[in-house]
Structures are given as structure tokens and as C-alpha cells.
Amino acid sequence: MSRARADEEEYWHSSKFRAFTFDDEDDELSQLKESKRAVNSLRDIVDDDDDDLERVSWSGEPVGSISWSIKETASGSTSSLEGRDSSLQKGSSSYAALPKQASSYSLSSLFKGEDHHIPYGQMALTDTGVKNYAPELRRPKAEYKDYSSDWSPRDTVRRMQRGKVCSLERFRSLQDKLVLLDEAVAGHDGNVITAVLIFLKRTLRREILFRELEVRQVALCHLIHFLRETGEQKLLLDLLRTDCFFTLSLQLSQYREHLNIQDVEKRREFLKGCIGLPFSAEDTSHVQDHYTLLERQIIIEANDRHLEMSGQSEIFRKYPRKASILNMPLVTTLFYSCFYHYTEAEGTFSSPTNLKKTFKIPDKQYVLTALAARAKLRAWNDVDALLTTKNWLGYTKKKAPIGFHRVVEMLQRNNAPVQVLQEYVRLVEDVETRLNLATKYKCHDVVIETYRDLKDRIQLTAYKCKVERGSAEEEKINSILNNMVRSAY
């Protein structure tokens, strides 16, 4: 401690408050009080527990500085407990205050709403004026020991955790500062860690700070969090650019920034800059895709807005766009393109096939999205074409990578006519599902044919009541029933 003591001495002598010495506490106290009153003459409430000493900072730094703001008025409970066992508490060690502290944090006292906890009690008095408080009890001398400032880094951290005044300014050497930081990290209290970091950030050269944080990952995380919260983007990016931090997945922090950029052109530029960051291979391709997509969307948006305004395109007149396509996900963009630009040649940026190719959209995803778009437009021919495949002999076959039951549901949702619907219901492989769907959507023909194939007379007869009297379906059932009878004989 002797070194710290020496520092202290030197400090006091260089400080503008050098007039105060610790030799005569009483005298000094009154002086301080006076000076404090002068400084705070604007304040109309003299808070009895916000200790008078605080405003004239002991470290000689201006009121309102960081170390000043670190001070937390947890000492709010002093006055009420003072009479009880203050000498015992304050006397022994600086930790002896903990029982009081612990009790003031207790649930029971919380619920009792004890005065010293919230300023409630005091507030209630404001009508009569807080200034009318009884003269402050003189505090035991020992208490003022709290304000001597030769604590070890450890004690300092401990005190800060408990919300006491602490000046960090006295930690001058790099060594001291780092010990302080390590102590704070060991205490796990983020509030204190941040306080120390703010102090270091202010008093250390950037390169040194970064270098030291490299081996102190927990502290580093706190600093990053702090910079992000306070929006100190520049320092954050500087931090990220330092080679040593590439091991951390901080590139994403930078990528995240694009969300705060409203202007699309700027956002695009920003994303372009992100591509070069050392992401994982997988992430790089996603970021690249993100950039490409936004680039496309900007082009498509410009064209389509123009088309829509000019009123020349029928599709835009018939189905005006509900929102801009900018910043929409890829699949939504594909849907849009299948809706408005379905027939365009592959060469144009807005054509679905171009999108499919550029972004390597899987078949299943593509068919599903295209189906949804074309079904919405009730373009049943396109739907049919999407589900038809030709083999090399020229035979055509119906195929649905997503299963025909899903196709049926999607078409039904878009109010497809029964004729269209039943064509696909018929293709549902699972008999059970096919019957269910056919019955549900009244595809009578399919139901009847299925029962016929199953040779299920009973069900077929029962189904007769579901079709209209005298309709073609009824006739069909009858004729099948007759045939079945005949063949049974």
C-alpha cells in the first residue's frame, strides 16, 4: 500500500483541493460543508444521506465526472440505522457495513416499504419542506474513514459493488488499472465492470486498451456491449478492425449495423462492404446473397414503380402492389416475381427463372412459390404446366415435388373450380387422403371412381345421398352399382 499512499500524497498536493487535509476531521468537515453548500446552492433539497462530501470530489475532479457518477446513494439507509449499531458497523472494517446492506436489500424490508429504501418517506414530507429536517446527527468519526482513498483495487471494487463512492482516478499506473479491471471482472458485477472500463477507455491509449482486452475476453464483451448500447459505432468498428479480434464472431456486429440504415442505396453499399469481412464460408455466402438480393430489389422496384405509375401494364392496373418489394425475404421476392413477371425471359433481373438460378433456389421451394403465385392469379394453365414434366421420349407426366395433397389445398384456398381441383385430387396417391380431400371439396367424380376401384358397394350407395338428385353423378353411381351387381353374379 505504501506505493498507493505515495501516489495519494502526490495526488493531493497536485490537486486543487490541497487545502484539505485529513488531520483535523471536524474542521475539515465544516469547511467541506460550506464549500459544498456553495457549490450546490442551486439544489433545494439537501439530501441527508447523499453525503455532503460527495460534490466536492475528493479526487479533485469536477463534479459530474465519471467517478462522481459512479457513486451510488446506497448509503440511503445510514440515517435510520445509525443510532442502532453504527459504531460497530463502521468501526471494524469496511465490510462490516454489509449486514446493514444485506438487510436493506431483503425482501421483507422491501415489502414493508421502509422509508430509507425509497425516498417515499421523504417525499411525503416535501410539502413541509425537506429543509426542515432536524439537524443532522453528527456521524461517528469512523464513518469518514470510508472516504479515505487508499483502498486496494480489490476493496475499491468491493465498495463499488455496494454502491459506495469511489474514486478511480488514483489508479494511475497501467499495472494498477489492470489489477482494478481484473478485480472488477472477478466480482461479476456488470455495473462495476462497465464503470472501470469507462475509466480505462478514458485514461488509456486505444491501442493499449485493445491489447489488454485481447487477453480479457469477459471485459472485452462488456466493452463491446457498452459501445453498442451507447452507439459508439466508430470505436466499435476500430475494435473490430484490430486483427486480434477476428477470432471472435464480431463481424456480425458490423453486419448488424445495416439494420439501422434506412436508405436502401446506403444499405446496399454497406452490405457490399460487409462481404469482405472474414465470416465463416457459410455466412459469407449468405451475406453475399443478401447483398445481391437487395441490389436486385432496387432495380425491380425502380422499374415496377415506373410501370405502375404509367398505368401501361395491365397486371399492375388489375392488381396494384400493396407494398414495395425492398428488403423483403428472398421467397417473398420470388413470389412477387412469379406474380408480376412470370413470363419474362431468363435474361431479365426480375424473371423468376433468373432468381431461381442466381440464388440456387431448390425445386421444391420454387414450385411451391410459383404455384402459390399463379393460383392466386387463377392462372390454371400455368399451374398445370408447373406440375407437368416431359421425359426425353416426349411423354408427359404429372409430378408434384410437394405432394398433390398440398397442391389441392393450395388451389382450394384460391377458390379453384371443381374441374381444376379434381384433376389433382385424382393424383393424390394415398387412397385415404384422396377420399378425404375429394369428399371435403365435393369432387364427386373422384369419390365415385375411387369407391368403384375399391369395389365398395356400401360406401358408394351411402354416397348417393351426397350428390344431387337426378344429377349426372347420381346416374353414374347407379350405373356403376348395376355393373358391379352384374359382375358379381
Binding site: 465490510y95 417525499m123 410437394i402
Partner: protein, 592 residues
């Protein structure tokens, strides 16, 4: 004076400022015969403190109120500081009398926030800046929560262990009130940290040795990341389902009003209520206490049994002949009516839930979950998940399923993981890389390391999957997920009997260290256990706990030959949805 509330805080504060709940908590303590002084007396109503107005915090000018003092009750969040700044700056300086501002941080003053206020040039406007330390909030007789929403995220994504520090502090407070807990067990890195901090706090403060006879025999500290699986699965207890579907906040739930329309003759359908129905759910309600922890499939029969009992009780009036009998009937009326309205409420809630649990999608989703948890097809791309993505189901639902699959396979094969990632990004937007990255960092979604899948071993050793589950009269905790026994609770159960030594191998497979610490008690305070007396264990979930896990622990407490009663503490009450949400990147800039 007037109070301006951060809306988020009104929930937790409602809990401690409400008289009825506090009373109940005190009466229902599970600590055995000891009185439960933890909650103390209810605070006096606000009026006694001359609080005249209460506002919620929002940007703009503060509403006029003829008060001298304005007190802001806020969490230490920067976005809230901005609102306060706005409030203060717009305050009419010319008005007289001038109003004084005070700020009260819950649960803790934050240097960052004050610094922020200072930069905005308003710090000096606050005459008092105080903190209201709210470490553990009582939710029920056996349940405490810190309601620290971001604890899991802070610990695992941001390496910020402040919430652990508060947890340790809360535990010290608890020990100051309930006596030193002689045995501490733990599993996981955070658990280790908290135990270390407790030991350190105790060492640094020798006076903490109190002379209170210990209520708790054991403290079990559990990291949430030891059991990432449980919160991802859909909870199937009554309370768990209410939370999954409607979200319980600070014991309150908001329900669609349709089913709660007053059924009076003549005015049917006239004016249906449009406001959501708000109900408080806790063990003070007899019926709810009985059914909250049951599997939902067992709730219906209880409700109908209750209905019969109540109608029978009302029928009694026909048999009441003498004046004495009538008098007795009348004296029971208030109780019966309360029981009837409680029954009506829960019948309505059960109907609402049933509509959902019987839906096709709920069934499909549950089937996939159960397949994963029992170890079926966890190593390939799942069709149902793909379909859900294609149909653009809510992203959180997708993430829950994919993470569940990943956890049940000790990580996904690289190809499978890449496939899911691509599909999610293409369908929901590339910016979700950030969220996926967070999930990866938290260990919820990851590539399988070294190609080894430990889950089957863990599942078998800890008996996490039970095929013969009895939902009506359960004999095992697996009833809370209709087959899956929550890993965390299994650890607690095995700790009590036969002890963790029997599962060393599995414990090594789970992340983080496991440990045991002892805190010496003076001889006078050492317990001499009576025969048949239960041990009391406090289980602290660091990073959140689900209602289903709580139900499972309560089930263990009630087992006749269990020998252990549990009290539960946590950083936050969670379910899969709220948990995943807390890990997602906020994609929209804050509205202010």
C-alpha cells in the same frame, strides 16, 4: 407526488404490492412448520404515501398533474432513458410551482444510464437517483423469480454475469432470513460462478453467520444450458399450456373474451366484451392449485367432478328444512359461489385450450417433438419442419423445432444444419443470420462435433423418455410432457436419491462442472432430523425455468415416499417461445 411507471415493472410490482397474494404466500410456505416471514407485511397502499397520480412512461410531455414530485420507476435501459429525457426536456419550465424529478432504478442503478442522461444534459434535473433492489420476487408459496428477462442471453451470449451476481446476492438475502444452507450442489459454469460468489461474499463478511435455524437443507444450482432441451418442448400441463398459448405474465393471463361472456337470459349476444379477460392465476385459488400441475388430459375429469359436487351442494338447499340448516347453507353460500365462478373460468379456459390441442397442427407439431425426444430420425431433414417453413409458419415455431432436433442429436449434421439455415434465411430474410448465430453461440443450434451423438446415452441413463406414461394418475415426472421427463428435474430427483455419484458418466457429458460445497453450521443449528421429516431443497434455475418443470418438482414434493420437498427459484419464468425470443436479434429499430 406522481409516479411514472415503466410499464414492464407494473407486473412485478403488482405482485409485491398486492395484499392478497402476500398473505397467501405467507400461509402456504412449504418449508414445513416454520413460519414464513419472507414476504413480511404488505406495503401500505399507495395513497398512504400520498401518491396522487400514476402514469405509464411514454415519450412526449408529461401529463399535467398538480403535484410537486414526479418519480420515474424504470429499469436501467437506455431506450427508457431517452423517453425520460424527452419527458424532462419538454417539461414546461415556466409553470409554477416547478415540479421536481426523481428517478428510481429497478433493480439497480446503472452507471451507463446515468452517463447517458448526463450526455443528454438532463442528469442534473433529478434530485434523487435511487435504486430499488428487487432481487427475488415471490410468485407463489414455493416459487421465487428475479424476472430478469435477459439473464440467459447475458450469461451465454454476452459473457455478462451481472445477473449471476444478483442471484448470489439474492441467495445471501435468503440465507440471512432462512438460515445458512448447509449443502450446495451445482451443475454448470454459471452454477459454479454463483457458488463461488456466495462463498466469497460469506468470507468477506464474517458477520453473516446468523443464528437462524436453517429452513433449507440443500441448495441445488442448475444452469439452463445443462438442459437446453426441456424449454423447447411444448409443455403439456394445464398451467404450462396456458403459458404456451396465451403467455402468463406475473401470474396474470389475458384471454380472448368470447368464452367469458356473461350468460344471462334475455341479453345473449347483445354486447360481447371486446377487452381481453384478465385473470390472476395462483395457488390462492383452490381449484387452480389442484389442476395447475396436472397433465391437460387429466383436467377435464377433475372439472366435471367439481361441477357435480358444486351442483350437489347447491341442491342441498332443497333438503334444508329447519332454520338451523338453512342458516348453515347460507353461511356456505359465498364459498360456493366463489367455487362456482372459479369453476366456470377454468372450464372456459380448458375449452379454449382444447380447441388448440385438438387441432391438426398442434398434433403434428407434438408428434415431431416426441419423435425427436425419443430419438427417432433426429439426423435428417424433417419433412414437417420443411413444410412449416414453406408455409411460413411463425419463425419462432420453426426455430424451436430445429433447435430441439439439434439438441436431441447432440448437434446436427453439417449438411442438415446448412439446409435448415438456408431455408430459414431465404424464407424469413437474411438478417436472421444474426439470430441463428446467437442460437449457435448459446449451443441450441450447432453442428455435431466429432460426429458423436451423446443424447441416446443421456436419455437412457436418466430415463428421459418413458413409453408408459400415466397422465391421469402419474407415477413419474414424465407426465408433464406426456412421455418426456425433464432432464433438469431428473437431475434434482437423482441428487436426492441415490445421489449424483451414480450418474457421474452422464454428468460429464453435460456441459460445465458439477460440484458440492458445504457451509459449516454451528453445532447448535445442526438439524436433528425426526423420522419421516422431509428434507427441503431449494432449486435455483439460472437462466429460466418452465411451468412444466415446476409442476414436475411439485409432483416430487408430494410423492409420499419422496422425502424431499422443493422450493424453486429462478432468474425468469420462461417457455420455449419467450426464451427463443430473448435470444433473437431485435430487427426493427426501437419505436422511439
Amino acid at each position: 407526488q406522481a409516479i411514472v411507471w415503466d410499464e414492464y415493472l407494473t407486473g412485478p410490482f403488482g405482485l409485491i404490492a398486492q395484499y392478497s397474494l402476500l398473505k397467501v404466500s405467507a400461509g402456504r410456505g412449504r418449508g414445513g412448520s416454520q413460519p414464513c416471514p419472507l414476504w413480511g407485511d404488505a406495503p401500505a397502499p399507495a395513497q398512504e404515501h400520498e401518491v396522487e397520480k400514476m402514469f405509464t412512461l411514454k415519450p412526449g410531455r408529461l401529463p399535467p398533474a398538480d403535484v410537486k414530485n414526479i418519480i420515474f420507476f424504470v429499469r436501467p435501459k437506455l431506450e427508457l432513458m431517452d423517453i425520460i429525457t424527452d419527458n424532462v426536456l419538454r417539461e414546461d419550465r415556466g409553470r409554477s410551482p416547478q415540479r421536481d424529478f426523481h428517478i428510481l432504478f429497478v433493480p439497480r442503478r446503472s452507471l451507463l444510464c446515468e452517463q447517458w442522461l448526463k450526455e443528454q444534459g438532463v442528469l442534473g434535473s433529478f434530485i434523487h437517483r435511487e435504486q430499488y433492489s428487487l432481487d427475488l420476487i415471490p410468485f407463489d408459496g414455493d416459487l421465487l423469480s428475479m424476472e430478469s428477462e435477459s439473464a440467459f442471453k447475458e450469461c451465454y451470449l454476452e459473457s455478462d454475469q451481472t445477473s449471476l451476481y444478483h442471484a448470489a446476492k439474492g441467495l445471501m438475502t435468503l440465507q440471512a432470513l432462512y438460515g445458512t444452507i448447509p449443502q450446495i450442489f451445482g451443475k454448470g459454469d454459471c452454477a459454479r460462478h454463483v457458488a463461488n460468489m456466495m462463498i466469497r461474499m460469506k468470507r468477506e463478511f464474517p458477520g453473516s453467520q446468523n443464528s437462524i435455524f436453517p429452513v433449507f437443507d440443500t441448495l441445488l444450482l442448475l444452469d439452463r444450458n445443462v438442459d437446453l432441451l426441456t424449454p423447447l418442448a411444448t409443455q403439456l400441463t394445464y398451467e404450462g399450456l396456458i403459458d404456451e398459448i396465451y403467455g402468463i405474465q406475473n401470474t396474470y393471463v389475458k384471454l380472448p373474451p368470447e368464452k367469458f361472456a356473461p350468460k344471462k337470459q334475455g341479453e345473449g349476444g347483445k354486447d360481447l366484451p371486446t377487452e381481453p379477460k384478465k385473470l390472476q392465476l395462483n395457488s390462492a385459488e383452490e381449484l387452480y392449485a389442484e389442476i395447475r400441475d396436472k397433465n391437460f388430459n387429466a383436467v377435464g375429469s377433475v372439472l366435471s367432478k367439481k361441477a357435480k359436487i358444486i351442483s350437489a351442494a347447491f341442491e342441498e338447499r332443497h333438503h334444508a328444512k329447519t332454520v338451523g340448516e338453512i342458516k348453515q347453507f347460507v353461511s356456505q353460500l359465498p364459498h360456493m359461489q366463489a367455487a362456482r365462478s372459479s369453476l366456470a373460468n377454468h372450464t372456459s379456459i380448458a375449452e379454449l385450450i382444447k380447441d388448440i390441442t385438438t387441432s391438426e397442427d398442434f398434433f403434428d407439431n407434438l408428434t415431431v417433438e416426441q419423435e425427436f425426444m425419443s430419438g427417432i430420425d433426429t439426423d435428417k431433414v424433417n419433412n414437417y419442419i420443411e413444410d412449416c417453413i414453406a408455409q411460413k409458419h411463425p419463425l419462432i415455431k420453426i426455430l424451436r423445432l430445429v433447435c430441439l432436433q439439434s439438441v436431441c442429436n447432440s448437434g446436427l449434421k453439417q449438411k442438415v444444419l446448412d439446409h435448415y439455415k438456408r431455408e430459414i434465411l431465404q424464407t424469413y430474410g437474411y438478417e436472421h443470420i444474426l439470430t441463428l448465430n446467437n442460437l449457435e453461440k448459446a449451443g441450441l443450434l450447432k453442428p455435431q462435433a466429432s460426429g458423436r451423438n451423446n443424447y441416446p446415452t443421456i436419455r437412457k441413463t436418466l430415463r428421459l423418455w418413458m413409453d408408459d406414461v400415466n397422465e391421469q394418475n402419474p407415477n413419474d415426472i414424465s407426465y408433464v410432457y406426456s412421455g418426456y421427463a425433464p432432464l433438469s428435474v431428473r437431475l434434482a430427483q437423482l441428487l436426492a436419491r441415490p445421489g449424483w455419484r451414480s450418474i457421474e458418466e452422464v454428468l460429464k457429458m453435460l456441459p460445465g462442472p458439477h460440484f458440492e460445497e458445504r457451509q459449516q453450521l454451528p453445532t447448535g443449528l445442526q438439524k436433528k432430523r425426526q423420522h419421516g421429516e422431509n428434507r427441503v431443497t431449494l432449486v435455483f434455475f439460472l437462466g429460466g425455468v418452465t411451468y412444466a418443470e415446476i409442476a414436475a418438482l411439485r409432483f416430487l414434493s408430494q410423492m409420499e415416499d419422496g422425502g424431499t420437498e422443493y422450493v424453486i427459484a429462478t432468474t425468469k419464468l420462461i417457455n420455449g417461445t419467450t426464451w427463443i425470443k430473448s435470444l433473437m436479434e431485435k430487427l426493427e429499430p426501437a419505436p422511439f
